[in-house]
Amino acid sequence: MQSVNPTPPLARSPQVTLESVNAFAHKHSTERALLVVAGLFMLVNSLALTITRGGWSTWTNFGVWVICAIVGHMLLNSRLPTRDPMIFPLAMFMSGWGLLLIERLTPLFAARQVVWLLVSTLAMIVISWTPAVIRLMRAYRYTLLFGGLIVLTITIFIGTNPSDPEGTLGAPQLWLGIGSIFIQPSEALKIVLVVFLASYLAEQYPALRAEGIDIEKKRISLSPRIVGPVLLMWGLSIIVLIWQRDLGTAILFFMVFLVLLYIASGYTPLLFSGFVLVILAGIAAYCFFDVVRLRVDIWLNPWQGENPANRAYQIVQSLMAFGAGGVFGQGIGQGAPEFIPVAHSDFAFAALAEEWGLLGVILVIAAHSVFAMRGMRIAIRQRGKPFNTLLAVGLSSVIAIQSLLIMGGVLKIIPLTGVTLPFFSYGGSSLLVSFAIMGLLLRLSAGEN
């Protein structure tokens, strides 16, 4: 374990030079320029939506977004001058686009989402402003993990679904309701899990690298240090799957864990054996859980079946949305993404494809790719801080893998897992957690105090 070497505050830094001040200014101007571009995108699309659909509610959203962008930028400038200049504009760009999409699909939900944008921005600022947030999370990792698991357990027993409060439709009951506010504990558990794993593996990685693999003999030492956590996480994922029928979160948890274990151990076959476990779990789930069997069957053949119109309606409509969007898209408010059931949530990517076309899709993928690249860049820059490195990798991977799971699902590359598209999909918990992840990455990029 290497010692932590915190960066001293800028004002007191003896290394402050004209070059470094210019570098900070350059970063700020980059962020500002990117925010302006994002704002122009929002402006043009808000205008187009007003023309095609009428009404002024989109401008309220736009106004709130502008406030969040300006205030966020200014407050981050004041406390985190050395932060990554692309993370915040990218997140604002994606969440703004998501807001437009939700406004176009379900205006009622957009009014709630814009409130969540305010809350999420505030949370991001609080997290990124808190100098000891990384240290505190690491120090209280067990408390966080057990707290998270307890909340998850409570959800198993008294969980609800805002779309199906009575449970008559058989929808997964993944939310906890407090009045008219619903939160999804498994979303928050993503961060908690990454913090815990990063902390555990940061302590264990020298041992993992030393005894986990006998490089010369090319064999795996089945040390409990490796096998134990693997089986523990596999078990946790299966429990999530069994009790909550939340296939997406279960896969996400396990894949993020595999990624972190791979980074810590440096042992590539772990990834493959982990994927074998995922496949084995998938086969077992296919045999025992109707919801998994249905999704796999639909994935394998959405075109045929006893009643294909009902059975695979969502995925077929999703693919039609990509076809209808073509290269240039139908234009905001001019497509027919409302034919995709719950397009504002799991199928936001397909709805977006119909109205912004392949070019829009490429832009979204590029935004997520750059977000992942910047996250990994932040991780690599945490020299001598394995916990910080693993934390940055884990947080970036959560966003990237979740994006890939849902994008691949709506495009029929993999079975549909039912996770949201980070920053885009409707959902307060999802947006809040995505912004919290952004806050932590910004904190890490600026140097931990």
Binding site: G266, T268, L319, G325, G326, M373, V393, G408, L411
Partner: protein
């Protein structure tokens, strides 16, 4: 830094994942779009249909038959203006799709086949301009259609009138029919109606041929040099077949007639004797030559389902004439069934030196915002049915039939008409048939086939046929001038 290599590999893996997603999105947006958007369960097709302004349909003298108009709520409605043409045009419905002319020329009417420059295509897409289809001009002559429809009123059956030598469909009637303007409202009733008004009798109906088969049989007799002017004993005798009593089209005492007289009066006995004298093989060859088992339709129209499916029915089980079934089939009361289009094309071949033109119905197309019609050239080969000399001999026999035989009702002054009328039995009912032609000078003429369900009056069928040929003659002379 212990994790650098792993992080780079991880990032590479993630980026490969994103590239795969991009590739899949590109596939569905570009290549896969061509197939997935055409699926029946694509609701966007209905939206597109609802906003597409289908072209206007005209008859050959530019009378408007169908047009689209924008309603107050912005939706587009299709309006069928001529009740006499209802059965000829089919329908277009957002709910039930398209049929008939509307289906056959859908790509013209929707503008789907119009070519656009890249700029036009992009502008149309970006501005979401509704698609406007081309107008089409049919070969249909409303004057003929109206007269035939009027003569046909109250009957069930079909009429097809063809122009010779072009094969233009001048009139096509399927009765009973329905009002396509109220199709969506009345669909359930129409579908449940025992008279089956939704069924296209003219193109899809197949009937027992009965005595109307005597014309191809006469062609076979002529080809085999059978003497047609020698008396045949008891030529008017009734034939008893499977509980049916087949008689001449005109009630006659038992007398001797020549073969040509028996043909003129549609008496079955002399033709029944052909099964022995010609043999099943020769008669089968005649049926094959006249393509009686083929399912002809109008160029551009969806073909009716085939009568036999080679993949499903082994060859020995397909219909073929044998010594056992030759007798009943030669009388048109066996397994062999024919359509009105089959018989219209035989009539067309008779007046066109033995070769039948293939029927067509699209005369010209006019793209949106253009004034001039663009003629549609049809280069379909004619179908040979018989030699020209046989055709001319049968013409004479058919003229005789109109002059003194069972088809006298088809005769009209100032026009050369030949025809043949006969009875057929189907179930407990009977059918009346008429096929005929009119010559109009040079190679020009008209051909008609009429079939009346639940009718024992071949004279009525001949009368309707005569009306159709007379009207066709008038309109074709007018166009020639």
């Amino acid at each position: 830094m212990p994790f650098g290599r792993e992080i780079n590999r991880l990032l590479m893996g993630l980026l490969i994942g994103f590239i795969c997603v991009t590739g899949a999105a590109a596939y569905w947006a570009i290549t896969g779009a061509n197939t997935i958007l055409l699926r029946d369960d694509n609701p966007r097709r209905v939206i597109e249909m609802a906003t597409t302004r289908r072209g206007t349909i005209f008859d050959r003298s530019n009378q408007v038959l169908v047009r689209s108009f924008v309603q107050d709520d912005g939706s587009i409605r299709r309006l069928y203006l001529r009740p006499a043409a209802y059965g000829a045009l089919g329908y277009f419905s957002f709910t039930y799709g398209a049929r008939g002319v509307e289906a056959a020329y859908d790509s013209f009417l929707t503008g789907e086949n119009l070519s656009h420059t890249l700029t036009e295509a992009l502008t149309n897409q970006v501005l979401h301009r509704p698609r406007i289809g081309s107008d089409i001009q049919l070969t249909l002559a409303m004057d003929v259609q109206t007269q035939v429809e009027h003569a046909f009123r109250g009957q069930r059956g079909a009429v097809i009138v063809l122009s010779i030598p072009s094969g233009d469909v001048l009139a096509i009637v399927s009765a009973p029919t329905f009002d396509p303007n109220t199709l969506d409202l009345n669909w359930d009733n129409l579908a449940a109606d025992p008279n089956a008004p939704l069924f296209d009798r003219a193109l899809q109906g197949r009937y027992q041929p009965g005595g109307i088969l005597q014309t191809p049989l006469m062609a076979a007799a002529l080809l085999t040099n059978r003497a047609i002017n020698e008396p045949i004993e008891n030529a008017t005798a009734n034939i008893h077949l499977n509980g049916l009593e087949l008689s001449c089209a005109v009630r006659l005492p038992e007398i001797d007639l020549t073969f040509r007289e028996a043909y003129a009066l549609a008496c079955p006995a002399p033709f029944a004797a052909l099964s022995d004298s010609l043999g099943a093989e020769t008669i089968q060859a005649v049926f094959d030559t006249f393509r009686l088992e083929s399912t002809f339709t109008i160029d551009g129209f969806a073909a009716p389902p085939p009568l036999v499916d080679d993949a499903l029915i082994p060859a020995p089980n397909r219909f073929s004439l044998t010594d056992e079934n030759a007798y009943e089939n030669i009388l048109g009361q066996g397994e062999l069934t024919v359509s009105a289009m089959n018989m219209a094309m035989i009539a067309a071949a008779i007046v066109n030196d033995g070769n039948s033109p293939q029927p067509n119905m699209l005369r010209a197309v006019r793209p949106p915002n253009e004034i001039e019609w663009q003629p549609v050239t049809v280069n379909l080969p004619t179908i040979p049915f018989m030699t020209d000399s046989t055709a001319r001999q049968i013409q004479d026999l058919m003229r005789e039939t109109v002059a003194i035989g069972a088809a006298q009702n088809a005769g009209r002054p100032n026009i050369d008409i030949g025809g043949h009328a006969a009875l057929a039995y189907s179930g407990e009912g009977s059918l009346s048939w008429f096929i005929g032609f009119a010559t109009l000078g040079g190679a020009n003429g008209a051909a008609v086939a009429v079939v009346l369900e639940d009718s024992a009056d071949p004279g009525l069928a001949a009368d309707i046929g005569g009306t159709a040929l007379d009207a066709a003659g008038s309109i074709l002379r007018q166009f020639d001038n």
